[in-house]
Amino acid sequence: MIATLPPAESWLERFPLLVRDWITGHLPESLGWLAVSLLAIVVILAAFGLLFAYLTLAERKILGRIQNRPGPNRTGWFGLLQPFADGIKAVTKEDVVPREADAVLHFLAPVLLVAMSLLGLAVIPFGRHLLAANLEAGVLYFFAAGAATELAVFMAGWASHNKYSLLAAMRALAQLISYELPLLLSVVPVVMLAGSLSTTHIVDAQGGWTFGWIPHWHVLTPWGFAGFVMFMIAALAESNRSPFDLPEAESELIAGHLTEYSGFKYALFFMAEYFGMCGLSAMAVTLFLGGWQAPCAFLEFIPSYVWFTAKLLTLLLGFIWIRATLPRLRMDQLTRLAWKFLVPLTLLNLANAAFWSLSAGWSGPMHWVRWAIALTVVVGPFLLLGRALTAGVAPRTYRYA
C-alpha cells in the first residue's frame, strides 16, 4: 500500500493535515482561515516552547558531560522536570525595575525580542505540507524580521540606564551589524541559484538524487558548502552564542544588557536567544541542507517533518558542542573576523556561485574542470585570508608556575 502511493500522499506525510482538517471541520466555513492561522501559531508556539525547555536541559546536561560532571539530575526522572521548575521559579521571582530606568522601553525590549525571533519561524517549511506562511519573498521576510532583534537589544541596554548595559548594547550592535552582512551575503548565492526568494522553492530546488543516494542539497556543492559554513559562523554571532557571546560576557560586562533584568523578563531574553538559534538553524537547514528532503531515495517513506527535525536537532547539537569547545573571542578579533575574513569570502563565494550557475552546461571532462575551479575559488582565498588574519599572531603558550 505504501509502495504504490507517492511519498507526498502517504498518510504519515499527511497526518498533520488530517488533524488540522479534523479540527477546522467543526468550525463554520467563514472562520476557517482564521482557525488555520491560529492553529499554525499555536502549534509553532507549543512546539518551539517545548523545544526551548528541553534545549536548555539538553545544553546543561551536554555541557556537564563535556566538563565531566552530571548536570541537572534531581528534578524528575533524569532531571526531565528541571525546565518546568526553572520556569516556575522565573515567573514567581520579583521583577525589579531600576528607579532611573525608562520603564516602558525596559518592559518592551524583551517582549519585542521574543516576538521578533518568533516571527521568522513563519516562513520555515517544516515539512512537505507544514508551512505557516508561504510568502513569495520568504527569505527576505525572515531576515527583515531578524533585523528587529538588534533594536530590542539596544532598547534593553539603553532602558536599563546602566553603564555596563549601554556599553554592552553598543558592542552587541556592532557585532550584530558586522555579522548581518556575511549572514545575508552567504544566503544570496542560494537565492541566486534557486532563482527564488521563496523558501518552498528553495527546498524544492534541492530535491532529487544522483544515483539515488547523493542528494542535490546545496551543501554538497563547493559554493554551498562554503556558504553553509559561513552562514553558521554568522548565525553563531547573530544569536550571541559562544564563541561570540560578547554582548552578555559575564566576566567583563556582568551579563551586559541583561544586568538590570530579573524574573520572567530575564527568562524571556533566554527564550529569545534559543528561538533565534532555532530559527537560524531552521533557515540553514532550509537553505543548505535540503529542508525536509530525505537524504536517500529509499528513505523517503519516513515523513518529511521527521527529517527536518532530525537536521534541526543536529545543528542545535552543533551549537551546544561549539559552546562547550571554543573560548570567547576578543572584540577586535570579532570584528576583524567579520570584515576581513567573512565578508570578502562571502563576496568571493557569490562570484563562485555565479560561475557555478554559468557553467551548469559543462559536461564530460569540463565537469571536472568546473569542480576544480569552484573548489579553488573556495579553498584558495580561505587559505590566503586565513593566513593574513593570523599573520604575526603566534600561538599562545602557557607557562605553568
Binding site: P365, V369, G380, L384
Partner: protein, 674 residues
Amino acid sequence: MNLSASSLWLIPALPLLAAAIGALTPRGGRSLASGAAIIAMVGALGLSVAALGTALAHPAAHLTDNFTWFSIGTDAVRLGWLLDPLTAFMAVMVSFVGLLIFIFSLGYMKEDANFTRFFCFLSLFAAAMLGVLVANSLLLVFVCWELVGLASYLLIGFWFHKPSAAAAAKKAFITTRIGDLGLLLGMLWLYHVRGTLLFYDGGNGVLEPSSLALLSHGKIAGGIALSTAIGLLIFCGAIGKSGQFPLHVWLPDAMEGPTPVSALIHAATMVAAGVFLIARVYPLMLADQHLANVSVHALTVVAGIGAITALLGAAIAVGQNDIKRVLAFSTVSQLGYMMLALGVGSWVAAIFHLLTHAFFKALLFLGAGSVIHAAHHEQDMRRLGGLGRRMKITFATFAVGMMALAGVPFLFSGFWSKEGILHAAHAWPVSQLPLIAGLIAVVLTAFYMTRLVAEVFLGSPRSDAASHAHENSPVMTVPLVILAIGAVLLGLIGTPAWPWLQSNLGGVVVPAESIFEGPGLMVLSIVLVCLGLGVGWALYGWRKRRDAFAPDPLAVAMPGVFAALAAKLGFDEFYALTFGRLNQLLAVVADGLDRWVWGGIISGVAWMGEALGTFDREMDESGLNGGFDAASEKLRGVGNAYSRAQTGEAHGYLRTLAVAFVVLALLLLLGGVL
C-alpha cells in the same frame, strides 16, 4: 582517450592558469606555486597524449576548430585551434620535456628567494609555447610567439640584479624583435593578399591549395614570387627566434638565466618555435618550388642560412670555456641542421631532429645545471674537472647526452636524426655545399663535446668548488635519468628499419619518404664522428689539464684560430661597430635636428606669441579694464545685498523653500492648471 580540436585550448590554458596562480601567490607559497605549475604540466602532458591519439587516428587530416574573435565592418578576424600530427608530437615533446625541467627546477631553484616568481614565469613560458603549437592562425601564433619572447625576457633576466643578466635579457628581447618585425610584415602582407590568417579553414586557409596557387602566381619586383617574399619575411621571425645566423648573437648571452631556463629555451621551447614555425608554414615555403622562372626559391635561402649557422655554431663552440656557452653554440649549430633539413626539403628529418635534440639538449643542459649546482655556480670548465667520480649519475647521463649530440652510431637517437639530415642534403639537387658544411660540423661537434666531457668530468678537480662537489638530490637526478633514457630510445622510432615517425608525420603536407640511399654516406659520417672523437681525446683526454691556468692545447697548436673562435668570430664587436655605430650616428643626427631645426622653428613661433601677448596686454590694461572695473563695482554691491539673505541657517532655507512651494502651488491652483 581522445581530444577533439575544440578542446585543444585546454593544453595551453592549464599552464596559463598555473602562471596566474603563481602570480597571485605571495612569496611564502612556494609549494602552492610549484605544485600548481607541475600539476598543470602533468595535465597538459595528459591532454597532449590524448591529442596525439586523436591525431594518429586521422594522420592525413588537419582537424580545426575556428571561431570569430572580433569583426570590423564586414571583415571578421578569426582564430582557431589546429590538431595534426605535427602539433601533437610537438605538444607531447614540449610538455614532457617541460615537465621534467619543472621538476628539476624544484631542486635547482630551492634556495632562491623568488621561487614562486620563477615558477610563474616558467608556466607562462610553457603556456605561450603550447599556444604557438595549437594555434590555427598566424595571428594567434604571433601573439603566443611574442608571449614566448616576453617570458624569455623575464626568465633570462630573472636574476636582474646582475647587470650582465639584465643586459642579456634586453639583448635577447631586442634581437629577436628584429626578426619579429619581418614576421609581422609578412603576416600583414599575407592578410592584405588573402584576407585571412587561418592556416586551414576548409579550403579557404592560407596553407591550402587554392591560396597557395594564388600566392605563387603573384610576382613582385625582381622576379620573386609573392609566396617567396612572404615566406622569407616569416623566415626572418624564425631566424630571430631560432638563433640563426646572423641573429644568433643573443642565444649564448641568454645563458645568464638560471640553467633550467637555458634548458627550456634551448631544448624544448623557444628556439624550437622558429623551426616549428617554418614547419607549420612549409606548404607556403614549398609553393615556389615548381616555378622555374623565379630568381630565388625560399627554401634555398633557408638551406643556406641553416648550413652557415650549423658550421659557424660548431666552430665557435670549439673555442668556448664556459660550459653553458659551449652548449649554447652547439644549440645554434644543431638548429642550423634543422633549418638545413627544412631547406633541402626533408621536412620529417627536421622534425625528427627537433624532437631528439629536445631530449638530449635538455639532458645536457640539465646535466650542466647539475654540475653548476654542485660546484656552487662555477661554470668555467677550466676550473672544474674530475667530477665524474663524485657525480656518477650526472656523469653517466651527461655522457649519454654527449654521445647523442655527437652522433655516436647506432645506439643513440642523435645519430639517426642527423643521418636523415645528411642524406637529405646529399640528395638535394641544387648544391652539395650544405652537405659539406654539415659534414664538417659533424667533426667539430664530436670534437667539442669530447673536449667538454674531458675537461669537466675527467682529470682532477682544479678548484675548491669542484673538489667539494657531490651528487645532487633525486629531484634533480631523476629527470636526468628519464631524459637519458629518452635520448637513447627516441632514436628507435625513426630508424630506416622502422620509420614509424616518418610514416605518421607525413600526412598531406609534403612527401615524407626518408632518404637513405645506401651505406656510403653513413660510413663516411661514422668515420668523421670517430675522427672528431679521436682528435678530441688526443688533445684533451690523453693528457689531462693539471690546473686552471694551463693554456688550452688547441690554443697552443693554433693560437690565431682559437683566439678568433673564443671571441665568437667577433660578431658582437662587428655589430657594435656597424649597427651600434650607425644607431649612434642616427641618434646624433636626430638630436641635432631636434635641437636646431625643430627647436628653432618652435622658438620662432614662441617669440611671435610673446610679442602678440605683450601687445594684447597693453590693449587690455589701458582700454578695456576701465569699463569692467566699473561694472564689477556694481555687481559687488548687488552681491553684498544678496549675501545678507544668506544667514547660513538651514532652517531659514528650508522655510523659504516651503513658502515658495506654497506660493507656487497656490498660483497654479488659482490659475486653474491643477
